[in-house]
Amino acid sequence: MDTLALEAKATGQEKKCSAPRPRPKPPKKAKRIVYFEVEIVDAKTKEKLLLLDKVEPTSTILDIKALFHKSNPQWYPARQSLRLDPKGKGLKDEDVLQTLPVGTTASFYFFDLGAQIAWGTVFLSECYGPLLIYLMFYFRLPFIYAPKYDFSSSKHWVVHLACMCHSFHYVKRILETLFIHRISHGTMPLRNIFKNCSYYWCFAAWMAYYINHPLYTPPYYGQQQVKTALILFLFCQVGNFSINITLRNLKCPGSKVKKIPHPTKNPFTWIFALVSCPNYTYELGSWMGFTVMTQCLPVAFFTIVGFVLMTVWARGKHRNYRKEFRDYPTLRSPILPFIL
């Protein structure tokens, strides 16, 4: 390729990474700005909540939400869902008023999404919990097992290994949440934190109780079983990390443009050729490894439940990809190559 093409490619990428909000064009001398009138109606009671006049046609939904918030301080923008149709989907924050299919008097239906919480807070609580809870059981804090075992250490090597693996997994997730993940939704409903934390924390406690129990029975096939499972676990941890890095590199900071992920030079990402959501595939693999390593039925249950949930999410994402991109690769399956 010649240098001109490379240059064009570079500027093209730059353009893509710049902020998507269009710069308002300065009005031509002959034209006047047509201001919009915005009416906000409650989606359920149909009562008129706010009437805004002289709204710039180039304002975004986010600007309107900010104005609404000023008059109704209890509904901060993250909590608002403005819709063109009461039963429709919420409009995106970056949608511009004049691009919407409304006349100069726009009517939006308002839906209260309920108290919101930042996704980062939820993810971090989900991960810190199991990390600490597992360690509590590992160090055999009092009141968990019989008093004579308090602060004792397991004589099985695999129990120490399991603790390291489990802790590594959650530390990795915490670091990913802090530095790598780029989530398009800023917030989620408040009740999610209770739901998610109960799920992760209760399962973590349940698994940790049996693995660190004084009467724990090590795996049937001994060292061989543990070593094989450990390799699978580590392989999938690296895989999951690679996928998260790849997904991060797809999105530019602040941009909400969606792109199709593709295999990169990293062999762990080659699975993108066959699977839409390989991060879930690798996550399943990690937990299967952990199950075999500890030979613990509660871990197997956790793996199965997690697999069901991740399959539901993967199928949803796969469906969204196919809806959004006409040329989405048809060979890909949501989570398991060719199967699911």
């Binding site: 049996y210 129990h213 009467l215 724990y216 029975t217 049937y220 030979q295 613990c296 509660p298």
Partner: protein, 243 residues
């Protein structure tokens, strides 16, 4: 719990505000009518069996044995209702129906059948009679609804009898589980202890206690939901009649 699926969407819809839902086709309707007729008949058999046994013996004790087999058969048969919801021929929630049917099946098999010593308890008769009356009314309600010829008496009975039958059934169920506790603890029924190959343990005794505790939040919710359904269904009909 003793009176399952009373306030389900199916009845609310057919009585109150007929929503445009894709109802069951002709074949499905025929099947459902047969299913509900068979279940009504089955529970009538149980009711008759109880009465005959009482008259023959002259006392309330030990009546369970006279209807043990039909009770197990027809109560377990109710699992089909979960399938009906899953397939879509009945517009109820799979989860809600499943939960209710499973709790009945659990009491029938995992408590009454498994712990022989409780089968003589009077609490068993208490919940069996509550279930019997409820199910006869419920299945005949469904049958008539499907045939679009629902007598007001049946509708009234369905939305009124539960006021007494539901607490009666719940009391019987709780007393039975409570009576089973000492035997379960003594024999370690359905329990798994450590150490074992799969590093898992399960204490059925604790599980039964937790089940009893779960009635505390669940029973009032279901009971008041049914009372609300009652108001919606019966009061609406009265208004309609007045017009």
């Amino acid at each position: 719990m003793s009176a399952p699926a009373m306030g389900t969407t199916k009845t609310a819809h057919s009585d109150v505000a007929p929503k445009k839902k894709r109802g069951p086709g002709a074949l499905a309707t025929a099947y459902l009518v047969i299913y509900n007729v068979v279940m009504t008949a089955g529970w009538l058999v149980i009711a008759v069996g109880l009465v005959r046994a009482y008259l023959a013996r002259g006392s309330y004790h030990g009546l369970y044995y006279s209807i043990e087999k039909p009770l197990k058969f027809f109560q377990t048969g109710a699992l089909l209702e979960v399938l009906h919801c899953a397939v879509g021929i009945v517009p109820s929630s799979v989860v809600l129906t499943g939960f209710q049917v499973l709790s009945r099946v659990f009491l029938t098999w995992a408590v009454t059948h498994s712990v022989r010593e409780v089968q003589n308890e009077d609490s068993v008769l208490l919940f069996v009679s509550a279930w019997t009356i409820t199910e006869i009314i419920r299945y005949s309600f469904y049958t008539f609804s499907l045939l679009n010829h629902l007598p007001y008496l049946i509708k009234w009975a369905r939305y009124t009898f539960f006021l007494v039958l539901y607490p009666m059934g719940v009391t019987g169920e709780l007393l039975t589980v409570y009576a089973a506790l000492p035997y379960v603890q003594k024999t370690g029924l359905y329990s798994v202890t450590l150490p074992n190959k799969y590093n898992f343990s399960f204490d059925y005794h604790t599980f039964l206690i937790l089940t009893m505790v779960s009635y505390i939040p669940l029973f009032p919710q279901l009971y008041f939901h049914m009372m609300r359904q009652r108001k919606k269904v019966l009061c609406h009909v009265e208004e309609y009649k007045k017009e």
